[in-house]
């Protein structure tokens, strides 16, 4: 699933480690999400939405997702 996590993180001036700390996950998880190789669970997507103060549908785009 496409997402704008990397762009939003860079805009906020956070490192991957900082974002991982804010989300309560590992840095590898953040890397995997940014590379769009791992779709986060719904609770984690809500935490991402909360951290970036943006709706989930603005951060994640189902275009390109498996049917």
């Amino acid at each position: 699933m496409r997402n704008s996590v990397r762009a939003r993180r860079l805009a906020a001036g956070w490192s991957q480690a900082r974002l991982a700390e804010l989300l309560g996950v590992t840095r590898l998880t953040v890397i995997s999400i940014e590379k769009e190789r791992f779709d986060p669970s719904l609770p984690l997507a809500f935490r991402i939405s909360s951290v970036f103060d943006a709706p989930i549908e603005e951060i994640f785009d189902p275009e390109g997702a498996a049917p």
């Binding site: 309560g24 996950v25 590898l28 998880t29 590379k35 190789r37 791992f38 669970s41 609770p43 984690l44």
Partner: protein, 132 residues
Amino acid sequence: MLARWSWAVLIGLGITGAVALLAWTLSPEHPGTSAVVFAATALPFGVLVGWVVAVARPPASTTGDSAESAWLGTALSGAATDVVVAAGLALAVVSVAGLDLPAQLVLLGVLLVVLASATTRYALARARAVGA
């Protein structure tokens, strides 16, 4: 955190007590001494189990959130398939060749296949997700 550590100690003492009771019940000679020895031996393992169950567990809200848990799930399910395939092939070879293998060797083989398969699959999943 104090509540979790209390639970860990309680679980440890419970396991130790159960082992001591079992030793006291089943020991044909010197049941009291057996119970004390078994209890002393079981205490560190009981506390360790208590720590794993009560203290070291991840918070419920983050369980399954990490990419690592997804990679591990994929690796273990793939390893299960590999074990079935390897066991089928090994059974065919053993049957055709008429070999009589000791159970210890067979179980060791299964264990090695699971470890090798799961480790390789986990490393591949991690490399695919993190790599360029």
